[in-house]
Symmetry: C2
Subunit: 141 residues, 2 copies
DNA sequence: ACCATATGTGTAATAACATTACGCACGCAA
DNA sequence: TTGCGTGCGTAATGTTATTACACATATGGT
């Protein structure tokens, strides 16, 4: 929260509102969900949300989850390489775990080299069930 | 084409039309692009496309590209594990290369284990520039 | 033959996600 | 002061995907 606040300095009002809405809730949120939550704060149009999200993503504060059409606040905004992050998305509870695995990142880079592909961004989204949900459904009571 | 034909046997008319439209063009296509191309064949509603795509994906004949909201025919329909495939998507020419890398697949499984995540599907989409496009833009003439 | 079930079809309407176009405002540097 | 980059607000539109309903066909069991 302290670190987060310190980054707010450079954010505009709309960007701060959107970022606040994302950090204030666990789990990913769609642009329109954000819009609904921020109507009370004066935001009225999708574009206001999308513009803020675009900037926040540029700044590395927010990630887009392609398979969900939704957005999450970055779990470790101070980290270096935001272009290679993976997400474990629980299809049960909807929560998302941001995974930073150095071997995975370098593995993807190698694959790109093998295929003579100039890699700009890696999208890695793991779908399945998180440990908590698996435990819960295993012991129904 | 011969191999493809042999698989058509189990496909319904709509599924065959959609699969044909995907294999008959290089590069990914959106559901609505497919619909437009298939209007002449009698398809009229998005749902007809989406239903066919769903089945084709189940059968492992087609992949969905999440970051593009588009679909491609699988490059190697006979291969075993369709849950872990990667795609190299060229942002220049739009072509997609299907990547089957065993190390990447096992790496993702390891990551899932590390995070106590029960993995059902891996979405891996590499964005960047393909070798051909890189070569072309390097020599502008 | 009868029924149940699973799968596929067709149409219409609507929901959900995202962008384009336009005009205005502010801060800053040439 | 002018020009430029960035952000803001509004409206309209474009694109992607789903829900709801009704009907059809094939299969397998009794």
């Amino acid at each position: 929260m302290n670190q987060i606040r310190s980054m707010d300095k450079r954010l505009t009002k709309n960007q701060e509102l959107v970022f606040g809405a994302l950090t204030g809730t666990e789990g990913p949120q769609s642009a329109y969900t954000l819009l609904d939550r921020l109507r009370a704060d004066g935001l009225r149009a999708p574009l206001q949300i999308y513009r803020a999200l675009e900037k926040l993503i540029d700044l590395g504060l927010v990630h887009r989850l392609e398979s969900l059409n939704a957005f999450v606040a970055c779990s470790h905004p101070s980290c270096s390489d935001h272009s290679t992050v993976a997400f474990a998305i629980c299809d049960d509870c909807g929560l998302v775990n941001e995974v930073a695995d150095e071997r995975l990142a370098s593995n993807l880079k190698e694959v790109a080299v093998d295929y003579r592909f100039s890699l700009k961004q890696s999208i890695v989204e793991l779908r399945g069930t998180c440990g908590d949900c698996a435990a819960t459904s295993a012991k129904p009571q």
